[in-house]
Symmetry: C2
Subunit: 331 residues, 2 copies
């Protein structure tokens, strides 16, 4: 069973998950992630994953059989899992608790496709809708303080299986990256009565230099302090703390914009990438001051010693240049 | 010229360093770092680097010619550099300033060796002494708020040149990782009158499960909340905020322990690694509450989407198991 441990000095949690070292490619990080097909995520191989918790199917096909377009299953090697005892273990000066959580995999295509940029608009929309449904199914559970949705695409981004997929982790804590961002947004709102991300969007939409695309409800832009070359954030114009409250027509717009961003990126470089869906903490007071958004992080440069030592990133391409490059890609 | 930019929401600085994309391997991250010799860091190729700022030489050889054991040169593609104008640019809602800093490379061997674990005790001691001398030369400069020393060894750790080397960056800011750690140490001292790292060392030395090696002045241990499998920290038993005030006999002991740790690690796995020297902020009040230490971070697992989204690491090996493995290596 895994364990959640907190660094005794800084606000950094670690999941000690011995079980995950048993994954097929976990100990061979320099070897390419599994490119062979069929793989456990391919249609016809449903028995190789835990039973599905959600699937979108055409016609009347049975659960855990072919016929699905998007399929959500518990992670076979979960970092965190359902456990009864979540007592905090205080082994002075340390704090730890049992590795409670929910860890799911969203399989984005029944065929052995390797990149979300190759999916159709409808497929991307199905994937986002699956995220929404799973968050709605989980967010009222009193055990979960935050839900993280993320994608590892390509081995440099940490993927151990190449078949296009993303992951969801429901956590019994608010992790530091979410907490810091949310605290800053609350402090700014307390001081000014405004959302800092709304102000940033206003600035970017006037400035234009870092805008990649804009639609009725969303803006895709390269953030001012981009950590990675070609980093893109997609943000809703309307202030909203939670992704999962998104309306149906906005979900479609988001799918269009996400797919556009990924295809523009793929038009410049064939890179591994992560994306992360930043949504508000679930149970905190003042959580309404969060502003959900999606961050696309191409892993073109490495996270090296300086980044780990300082928390400061070295980015070899200014976001103004990146945005221009991304705008100029012809699709 | 590069630029330091602060994320408008979280405490995260980014160095926008367009120049660095011109490095030989910078845009080919999936290609192995340069393994061929001779390389620009090899003896006889001194003209391929900027002129040295420090070298330890046997006999009376000329600067920037062969005969050196350890050689320190400015980074040819610096992330930050000496500039006159450091005015903060406030382009509301953003803050940025010119990319002021000093970026140096410590070349650890005149021969084309690829790993610090292969260096002799004397070589490791020379390297640590070079760190000390360079910090002493730089730390009184009113422009530098912190000095970060780090190593990228192997391409998964971000190395673009394979020849064994480490780097030093003097910064006009206290970056978030240093600030957070130092704020926590100050808060603990204010509340209890004690250093939290001193308490942790006491606990570890009694507990023993996570100890790798112990000498008169130092402890090498796997930290309770290790981010990476086989992560090792080396910490001085004596409370001291700054690495650069280390005594000569302690420097020798530190070299012995660092080499031991690296060799034990190499006895288990042939992995890329970073190490980072955490030393106190240079100009802050209460800086005496910092406790300097060295962190060895094997890059066996990837920093993936979950880590970037949450700041929480998934570690597939408990530090108690890692420490036992490291203790059992026969050298």
């Amino acid at each position: 069973m895994s364990e959640l441990r907190k660094d005794p000095v800084v606000d950094r949690w670690v999941i000690i998950a011995n079980e995950r070292s048993k994954r097929p490619n976990a100990t061979a990080p320099t070897i390419k992630s599994n490119l062979e097909e069929p793989c456990p995520f391919c249609a016809g191989h449903e028995a190789e994953t835990p039973p599905e918790v959600l699937a979108y199917r055409d016609g009347s096909t049975r659960a855990d059989s072919p016929g699905w377009r998007v399929r959500v299953v518990p992670n076979k090697f979960p970092a965190l899992a359902s456990v009864r005892d979540i007592r905090l273990r205080a082994d002075s000066p340390y704090h730890a608790m049992a590795g409670l959580g929910a860890h799911e995999v969203i399989i984005e295509s029944p065929t052995h496709c390797l990149s979300m940029s190759e999916l159709s608009e409808r497929q991307v929309e199905d994937v986002l809708r699956a995220y929404q449904e799973r968050v709605i199914a989980l967010h009222d559970d009193p055990r979960w303080q935050s839900i993280i949705i993320y994608k590892n695409e390509g081995s440099a981004a940490g993927a151990t299986l190449a078949h296009v997929h993303s992951q969801l982790l429901a956590l019994p804590i608010v992790p530091s990256e979410v907490a810091q961002e949310w605290h800053a947004l609350v402090a700014h709102h307390d001081a000014t009565g405004r959302c800092l991300y709304c102000e940033i969007l206003d600035h970017e939409r006037t400035d234009r230099r870092r805008i990649v695309i804009e639609s009725a409800a969303f803006v895709g832009f390269c953030p001012f302090a981009s950590r990675f070359p070609l980093e893109i954030w997609v943000m809703a114009k309307k202030h909203s703390p939670f992704f999962h409250t998104i309306a149906k027509d906005e979900l479609r717009q988001l799918a269009l914009m996400l797919r556009q961003c990924l295809r523009r990126l793929a038009g410049i470089v064939d890179a591994s990438l992560n994306f992360i869906l930043h949504s508000g903490p679930l149970k905190e007071a003042k959580r309404e001051h969060y502003h959900w958004h999606l961050e696309i992080l191409p892993r073109i440069t490495k996270i090296a010693g300086f980044e780990l030592a300082s928390g400061c990133y070295i980015n070899t391409e200014a976001p103004e240049i990146a945005a221009r490059q991304l705008r100029e890609v012809s699709l």
